[in-house]
């Protein structure tokens, strides 16, 4: 049975209380640092910061509806080799799930890290956030949270939360060591702190927070939120499937691609140090271009764009956790996330694989078994 405590909210300012919680965490949690998003001096930028001084936690705002990058990559950098101290990382559910995938690929370690997850209400795209935030980032965050939790529209002018967030079925970071619960909770009064792992329980023990119970409405609120997102997602799948159902359509879908590979750079689970598409394998002989062109009469330049995307799907669609940073990063607004999530839904199902669920699950292509997929060869070994 998970252990549940609460953060009491004073003056109807959950953000302040959350900051207070982080301070307690840093002071009493026997940890060396906290990785947590913080408003930077530039008024409309919220970036992960690594904080060791409790006093420097005043600007932290993990609730801000933006995440310029998937912080799993940062946690991977922090934990790839022994760190020499334990660090608490405050992450969105998709970041945690991405991190778990990276741990499977030996790009990070679970040791020395406490995963602190916060119920995710979604985020605006990097481009839209400055338009949303206005002058006071903190107030904007509080306003957003109240609205979102109350089920009111999050749309502003002509934009809304990013499609990835709208289609995300994982708003609750159930696999964090410590989970901060907002959904179904009156955050003007309190926020839940729930320990899901022995490590989380040990930490909560040290913090001496008042005990609490899960509010009755929380499960219902979560279910309703997920249902809303699944509905959005399924619509998105249908549209994308239609939009990419032939190679001709796919070509149009990806027509704007300029081989900048930003999507793969932004992708938290695309873990290669150097993508094969930038190695010399793809340094084609000039004569080859001509031969291709001769064969087809016309080839689109740059070449290898569709090849790149299908290959990337082959490589990591099973690991795609749907954070949407690919779309966020695309300079030419290609709906990369939509394509990946649609294809992933098939490839993940084929191997009965759910990325980010547990480090115990092995990535589909890293293992093999006798007697499986016999239908491929007519039912015989």
């Amino acid at each position: 049975m998970a252990k549940i405590a609460k953060i009491e909210v004073k003056e109807q300012n959950p953000l302040n209380s959350l900051q207070g919680f982080f301070k307690t965490l840093l002071e009493q949690g026997e940890i060396s640092a906290i990785l947590v998003p913080q408003h930077l001096p530039m008024k409309d930028v919220v970036m992960p910061t690594l904080v060791t001084d409790p006093e420097k936690l005043n600007g932290t705002d993990p609730l801000a509806p933006v995440f310029p990058m998937n912080a799993a990559k940062l946690v991977s950098r922090l934990t790839g080799k022994p760190l020499g101290g334990s660090v608490a990382v405050v992450l969105r559910p998709c970041e945690i799930r991405a991190f778990i995938e990276l741990v499977k690929l030996k790009q990070g370690r679970m040791e020395e890290v406490i995963l602190v997850g916060i119920d995710c209400l979604g985020a605006y795209s990097n481009v839209d956030y400055p338009r949303f935030v206005g002058d006071d980032g903190t107030q904007a965050t509080l306003r957003f949270c109240q609205n979102a939790l109350a089920g009111k529209s999050t749309a502003v002018e002509d934009f809304d939360l990013s499609p990835a967030c709208k289609a995300c079925e994982y708003p609750i970071a159930e696999n964090a060591d410590v989970l901060i619960g907002l959904v179904g909770v009156d955050i003007n009064q309190q926020m839940l702190v729930k320990a899901n792992t022995p490590e989380g329980e040990a930490l909560l023990e040290k913090l001496k927070l008042p005990e609490a119970k899960e509010p009755d409405g929380r499960k219902k609120a979560i279910d309703s939120l997920v249902a809303q997102r699944v509905a959005y997602r399924d619509k998105m799948f249908a549209e994308t499937t239609e939009a990419t159902s032939s190679i001709e359509k796919l070509t149009s879908y990806l027509a704007n691609c300029v081989n900048c590979f930003n999507c793969r750079v932004a992708c938290p689970v695309c873990y290669c140090k150097e993508c094969v598409f930038v190695t010399d394998v793809f340094d084609h002989e000039p004569t080859q271009y001509l031969r291709w062109a001769k064969r087809k009469g016309i080839i689109k330049m740059p070449t290898d764009t569709v090849f790149f995307h299908i290959t990337r799907l082959a490589h990591m669609s099973t690991a795609c956790i749907g954070c949407g940073q690919c779309s966020n990063a695309c300079p030419n607004n290609i709906p990369v996330m939509e394509l990946f999530r649609t294809v992933s839904s098939h490839t993940q199902k084929a191997f009965d694989y759910e990325p980010g669920r547990s480090v115990e699950d092995e990535p589909p292509l890293s293992i093999f078994r006798e007697g499986e997929f016999l239908e491929l060869t007519g039912g015989k070994e």
């Binding site: 690929l105 030996k106 290669c272 140090k273 094969v276 394998v281 001769k294 064969r295 292509l365 890293s366």
Partner: protein, 600 residues
Amino acid sequence: MVTFTLNGRQVEAEEGSTILEVAETYNVKIPTLCNHKALEPAGLCRLCTVEVYDGRRTRFVTSCNYPVWGGMEVKTDSEDVIRHRKMIVELLLARCPNNEFVKGLAAEFGIEATRFKLEEDDCVLCGLCVRMCAERMGVSAISMTGRGTDIRVETPFQIKSDACQVCGACESVCPTGRIDVREIAKYEPRPLLSDWEVGLQERGAAYMPFPQAVPLAAVIDGEACAHVRTGNCGVCREFCEAGAIDLDMKEEIIEVEVGSIILATGYDLMDPSPMKQYGYGVYPNVFTSLEFERLSNATGPTGGVILIRDENGELTVPPKSVAILHCIGSRDVNHHEYCSRVCCMYALKYGHLIKEKVGHETKVYNFYIDLRCFGKGYEEFYRRLQEEGITFIRGKAAEITDQAITPEEEGKLVVIGEDTLLGKRLRVPVDAVILCMAMEARSDALDVGRIFGVSQGADGFFLEEHPKLGPLNTATDGVFIAGACQGPKDIPDAVSQASGAAAKSLALATLGKVLVPSTISWIDPNICAGCQTCIGLCPYTAIEFDARRGVSVVNEALCKGCGSCAGFCPSGAAQVRHFNQKQIFAELDGVMDAISAVGI
């Protein structure tokens, strides 16, 4: 050690040994009946009674279980002892006057008749069977039931026992032949047939594998041995004077590190049973070539005398005429298309042996397609046999029947065939038929091949690397093949090939090192992200993780170049030399370019 007097002579013995044991070492014979080396002495028959004088009085004790002690005086054949023993035998004779064993025993004691009334029993109630079953087999399927004169050996409630494991140990120790395991066991006893004698002879669970076995030592058939199956029995230990039997020996897997392996697993003789027209298994005197080989062999079941089966199925009758049918199952589109190569020559040999051993009047008919007598001296041998009067009929025999249509066919096997040289249909009555069966690949060749990475050819035999350039090699480096596992061949050919394979192995051993193929993996450290997935996929544990650099590294001595790593590596850091991505893509481009140029 204790010292005592045995028939007036000072003897020494281990403490704890029995008088009987000591007497045996001093060559003093004491008769026994219920004593058995493998069983605890019970002292039931009392035949081994001797006199012991302890300084005060004389007592009669059973020597089988009386422990010796210092200073005692033992007489094994005093007048009294002999008188009493004779009385015991006389009592037994009265009980079993018609039993050969008891009659023999009585004769040994000079007893011709008994003074008591005669009964009609053939059990002396020595209890050997019961004790064997209980003490050694741990089963107690039979026991002594009743009391006093009603005592007898029985199964519980006289019902056929399903506890009986049909081992026959009871039968084997019964001196009088009273015990019949068929009367005890619920299940039918199954004889153990000798593999070496192709089932023509029975054997025990412990047996000599074959006369020329090296080392010439007995083996124990684990599936039949009661000790192996149940942990009981172990009687053989008591009888092996060399103390060579270790029944606690466990099957063990011995790992031997070798530089090369020669497969010489041989062949199977094709089973003729499905070819109904030849009546194998139906007519007792239709033999396979291998069975006939044993029948004519000096170490075989008949000691080299060529005999065929009588009406009881026993090998007792010399044949007056024999047909030898060539190419059964080989050179046959319905079975094996290939020629088994050795049949012609052994068939000629059999003809010669029959003439020589059974007599020149014996008729031998060969039904052949062609006679393939290639090789040194072979054709000459063929000619000689023609001169010896052996009949050669060109034409494959079609059928064997016992349905006589003429008086001279009565009681004979009739080979129906055609003499293609004369263009005449034939019916040849003979006493016995030898089927020259095809040699075929071992039934487990597939499994063996998998273990060693050796493929089978279309005929099922192991595939050599190349028929001309690599006849001894296989697809797996360091694994060679020799003999009939590679294809039908006779002894000189098998010896030649084996010598060659041995030489190849030795060549490797002498060199002491092998060249590894260049087609192995390499991981580009500049690209490797250190995910270590390749380590889990490598079947040869040839990849290690270099923690310092954070990259995986291929051990070139272990890598076989399968490319499991390359097939996965998303960044292309892991690549197989000569099969790297650039090369494959180039190949692909080339193929596609060429196709587009010619249209197909």
